[in-house]
Symmetry: C2
Subunit: 241 residues, 2 copies
């Protein structure tokens, strides 16, 4: 895929996580199916996973608009989960089981290329998360999956959710870098547009299966991004890492 | 050394960095001596290093008391450095050289046991910094030295300096843990007293050479700490890591 603009100033790569680094959908479906099996609950778990994820943007918007107080993603996921348990008529889960189910987001599995790509990229750049996931979620996920981050950065540190500009500005400030020295890496265009607006470099990584085999993510390359890549190995190649 | 109280609840270790993980004094003296040699400046660099470090607590106190606005440690180090260059009559440094000299704090070297101990401790616990150093300083230091942190936590995230309670509380909150699930590890008692007051477990690691061969750090073990260790290997032994 294409490459443009001078990338020699880049010191750090900031990664979107859900969908870009980890395959949330397969991970959620798998854990829910295992729980369902053990509890005797039969359900279309793919629909459940998609509904859980779909609830996330509207909930964040309510926080953004001040209709909800600041809540981290663990709290948002739990709020959505409680609604979904009713909607999908899932009964018989104890509070401990609900808490553990909610923490499935701490246990998401990386895409097959993610760790190998990050290891290469880390030799040349600071590699940091820049996720709407809260710090503890990202730390636990990294530890479980072996994701080799130099630094865990999160919307939680700005008390703003992406794509609010404060998230990107806070990240650059904490890294001691100018926005142009940081490249946002994401599979989602709204994240990259917002990062680009505050001066970040941008890398679009396509994740054709993020929303499952039937999903229709926007994979069209845009020339406004500094770089486009088919996965993290391709990204490492293109950044000479 | 001694061990008391139930340590089975501990999920994360939060490390003081300057003096506890890295040998700031030897690192500063070495880099300054190299710079002095290249610039033809002859000086008692140990006195210079000690003076630089001595300036740090009073400057933080001014921030704490509101006599100075919030400044991160890079800014505090630079303010002290500018005074010391006059006091020690050091001339002929360009702005670029001053900036680079100030960043010597990003390049401090770990104590000989630190990395090996952290690698062991990391298998069992989340290992995080909890330093008055700013995030970028800690990230750059970790990358250069190979310190295997799971998470970079800093006073900067609380906009309070240790030993203010907000620093410890913010750290526990970001890790998603109760204070009693976090153990503060430090060579400095004031840090441990403050952490203990908000409910952290405490581990005292002695660093007899922190202030040089002539330094007189307080190495007496206190029974109020949950654990005392001679270095990070001993700490790993005592925590069964």
């Amino acid at each position: 895929m294409s490459q443009k603009s001078d990338l020699s100033s880049i010191k750090a790569l900031a990664f979107d996580v859900f969908g870009t680094v980890v395959d949330w959908r397969t991970s959620i479906i798998r854990e829910c199916a295992l729980l369902g099996k053990s509890k005797g609950i039969s359900l279309a778990w793919d629909e459940f996973a998609d509904a859980w994820r779909r609830g996330y943007a509207p909930a964040m918007n309510k926080v953004r608009d001040g209709k909800l107080p600041w809540m981290n993603i663990d709290e948002i996921h739990r709020m959505i989960l409680d609604d979904l348990l009713i909607e999908f008529n899932i009964k018989g889960l104890s509070e401990t089981e609900k808490k553990d189910l909610n923490r499935v987001w701490h246990r998401l599995k990386p895409w097959p290329d993610a760790i190998r790509g990050l290891r290469r990229l880390r030799r040349r750049f600071i590699v940091a998360t820049l996720s709407n996931g809260n710090v503890s979620l990202l730390v636990n996920m990294a530890k479980k999956a072996g994701l080799p981050w130099d630094c865990i950065l999160s919307s939680e540190l700005a008390k703003h959710y992406k794509p609010d500009k404060e998230v990107y500005q806070t990240a650059a400030h904490l890294l001691g870098l100018k926005p142009g020295q940081v490249m946002m890496v994401a599979a989602h265009k709204d994240d990259l547009y917002a990062a680009g607006k505050v001066g970040f470099k941008t890398a679009f990584v396509i994740r054709p299966l993020e929303f499952g085999p039937e999903g229709k993510p926007d994979l069209t390359v845009e020339t406004s991004f500094d770089l486009s890549a088919s996965d993290f190995i391709d990204l490492a190649d293109k950044l000479n890492a």
